[in-house]
Symmetry: C2
Subunit: 359 residues, 2 copies
């Protein structure tokens, strides 16, 4: 089905109306909206406005607080522990990354761990914030269990993303923003809707073995029979699945254990009281070398990769973030293509709250 | 062929004799030896004493300086830039990680970037150092080009490893120590020796496409026709190869660009003057929460993973570092199994330098 193109401004206006109607202060509603719309602009539609319903539910049911109740619990010159107070993850996340950035400006590095937060949207939003200050930014979060450890049969870890952004000069900034699973759950759902077989290495069914049947995997997950996504590297150790599993676990150590948030199965053990943990780092390259030298060498490395010979049948080598920056430019000009079902979902949210779809 | 078991002490004595004979001061010879032997003890034999010849060659040819010429070039409370002065990578690496640890004790976090260094052995050696101080340790290094970017045909990036170690309480510490390629080059060489086909997803040949023929891949690499190892996630984007590529690039940004070392193809562009970069981070968990709470939650997360249901046909779920700690215990008791060819190589080095194999 054709995807209608929606103006960025329309989406922003609508999301802000919805959130303020649910008693989120205007400035915070703008932050949440900014994170959601940026995901769509960058083409990560699984984390875009399609998820507005999740936040609406959280606010209505009360496990996401509309007023920011986050506070800094412990602090040193270079570090801080923030308790999110069950506020909106994006509001907590932005506040925590702002703090990491301030610390990096003062002390060359800032590390902020967050506990007691909610889903914070795309990890890349917060690492990108560092670029505006010519800093390197790192952002990670744990999440509800969806990933099966190597040789396991049930999902224990989240898709625990890692994002790192670093400024370049003439080239686009390097923006890695990756889940540590092979694919997101949404991709299994797409294959299920299309009735297609998945490649091996994406997911396991209730036996814990790699499955090509998306319906079986989703059914096993829904009925809590077992199964889930495979870590980057796939099943077993032959293609490095234990490495993806290790990265997911590393993220849980830095986000969950370090902050005292929940970890593994506990993150959403009480669905009415999630305890998500985040990890933010900002680092000032000028503590190591002049900014222009850093940015010039970023350009050189990026060019070396992009200009290198292409594999048979390929025309282009990408650097991380590049496709997303291109999408942003295009979607800002032409509008953001949204699945009609997503638009219907938004309209439904609007109707329930007495908000018209378009201003 | 049966692998003879060699006593740890024998190996240490021999390596130290070789290095001191080549004018490495005794204390530094002990450091290099410690890194090499720890690799063998942990079962990472590709980075153990089998590589002694590489350091002997570097010292003889002069591009590894026997006397530590490293110096701290720039410093803030939480960060430092170290110039390795082309000294032995292990000596530079240990000194830099020691500095990161001192900073973490003072300032909660220490980040040290290193330029102008040499091959530093296993990344895990330096992250493990942090555990003795109840800190979280991170260690990364760039390396000679061996990994092909997604959609590329020639190797540009190194196998650029990531290591993170975090202390637990009753459980073994979590020690992730992984190359960002699917497999190390050594694994392709093993399959070549055995005349076996490799799985798809390990390496590409000169066309840039995934190959199952180890001889073809190694030949293409040797003749510089193209080819190389695939990043974690394999060929293309279907199984997440672009994520492994992104992790390898992230490591080069933090090790090469941040420090002003070489990056990508430039790391060994002049084989007589490599310019390897490292990145070390030490982080004090007590800046965030009491140590015992941190360690207790590490235990809980580890137990949750290990006690979870196993995949069909599997009996055990591992946590990273666990297999290596078990090997250490076994090899310390029984001796380290070494490939007879490796023993022959060591004896040859000894003969050339007038050092008997065993004290």
């Amino acid at each position: 089905m054709e995807h209608p193109l929606i103006r960025e401004e329309t989406l922003r206006w609508f999301c802000e109306q919805v959130l303020t109607k649910l008693e989120v202060p205007k400035a915070d509603a703008q932050v949440v909206t900014d994170v959601l719309v940026l995901a769509d602009l960058r083409g990560i539609d699984s984390h875009g406005v399609a998820r507005l319903g999740r936040y609406v539910a959280g606010l209505k049911e009360g496990f996401m607080k509309p007023k920011d109740a986050s506070r800094t619990v412990r602090e040193t010159k270079a570090t801080a522990l923030v308790d999110g107070g069950q506020s909106l993850g994006q509001v907590v996340g932005k506040r925590a990354m702002d703090l990491a950035i301030r610390k990096a400006k003062d002390t060359a590095v800032g590390i902020v761990a967050v506990r007691n937060s909610n889903h914070y949207g795309i990890a890349g939003y917060y690492s990108l914030m560092a670029l505006e200050h010519n800093l390197i930014g790192v952002s990670m979060t744990n999440a509800g269990p969806l990933v099966v450890p190597t040789f396991g049969r049930t999902s224990i870890l989240g898709t625990n993303p890692i994002s790192l952004a670093a400024p370049a000069m003439k080239e686009k900034a390097f923006v890695l923003d990756m889940a540590t699973s092979t694919v997101p759950r949404g991709k299994v759902e797409v294959y299920n809707r299309l009735g297609q077989s998945m490649p091996h290495g994406w997911a396991v069914d209730e036996t814990g073995r790699s499955s090509t049947d998306p319906a079986r995997v989703l059914n096993a997950l829904a009925k809590r029979l077992g199964g889930g996504l495979l870590p980057l590297g796939g099943e077993g150790e032959d293609l490095g699945g234990h490495k993806g599993y290790g990265l997911a676990l590393m993220v849980d150590v830095l986000c969950g254990v370090l902050s005292g948030a929940a970890t593994g199965l506990q993150v959403y053990a009480d669905e009415k009281k999630p305890n998500v943990g985040h990890f933010f780092l900002a680092l000032d390259p000028t503590a190591f070398r002049p900014l222009d030298e850093f940015r010039r060498d970023m350009d050189r490395l990026v060019r070396e990769l992009k200009d290198s010979p292409k594999a048979q049948g390929q025309e282009r080598i990408y650097v991380h973030g590049e496709k997303s920056f291109a999408r942003m430019e295009k979607f800002r000009k032409e509008g953001i293509p949204l699945d009609p079902k997503v638009v219907d979902g938004l309209k439904k949210i609007g109707t329930d709250l007495g908000i018209a779809w378009s201003a």
